[in-house]
Amino acid sequence: MAAEPDPRAEDRALLVRLRTGEEAAFEELVRSHGGRLLAVARRFLPVEEDARDAVQDAFLSAFRALDGFQGEARLSTWLHRIVVNASLMKLRTRRRKPEQSIEDLLPSYQEDGHLERPASPWRSDVLHEAERSELRQLIHEKIHELPEGYRDVLLLRDVEDLDTDETAKLMGLSAGAVKTRLHRARLALRELLEPHLREEAR
């Protein structure tokens, strides 16, 4: 049986070709990673043209930074960080449309500290439902209803899987502020999803 290809060895071989400036190697890099990077950019940038611009910017910065790439991370991980960064930069040149305050999306309480609207159990099988594309649509929509500064932290931490410090650096926030925003973004998203996902809503 043939041995599994070693992805790190493949990365190294491609890097050698990229560093010699071989045109076909650049094309190979774009074709093998471009689709995944575009999916990442689309999460931050709902306008397709913006997402494509971010991917292009990301590849161009990656090409410029090739000599500095030490190979301690996988190429795919390295490119992922670069496209996240490029997407955030692009976002900063877009905006700022007026948006809802996060406070309006957080749970409200009675004077004695009980929830104003008691939390009901959610359907247990949502991920196995046939209407998966509807579910996907719903989650995307609700994430995009979050105020941007909160939505971006939620995407970076919960979806892109960056840690608190990396997120803090990219967003220009303290680690404490990242934690507060992440928690509030999750609370707000939970509030937005609850009417659709609670058991009685079926």
Binding site: A39, L127, I139
Partner: protein, 81 residues
């Protein structure tokens, strides 16, 4: 010592990240035993995080093709730079 539902919600993430002191943790877990609504809240908070992660990343598991015009734009921008 007890905690209100408001405090429960406030400390939820710290609890899940295992960042509570052992005394705070005890109070938090005491509230879970007494308050079925907060159990629902905790479950749906976890589900929110899970859904965000799984739904948003599944479009990556089937790598989409790169649109041809984008490939060309990137490669020609490189040659010009």
């Amino acid at each position: 010592m007890t905690m209100s539902c408001r405090e429960f919600v406030e400390f939820l993430m710290a609890y899940l990240d295992d960042e509570l002191e052992s005394r705070e943790r005890q109070v938090f877990e005491g509230h879970i035993e007494d308050c079925p609504q907060c159990v629902n809240y905790l479950d749906s908070y976890r589900e929110t995080v899970r859904l965000g992660r799984e739904i948003c990343t599944e479009d990556e598991s089937v790598p989409s093709d790169v649109p041809e015009p984008l490939v060309n734009a990137i490669l020609s921008a490189r040659r010009e730079s």
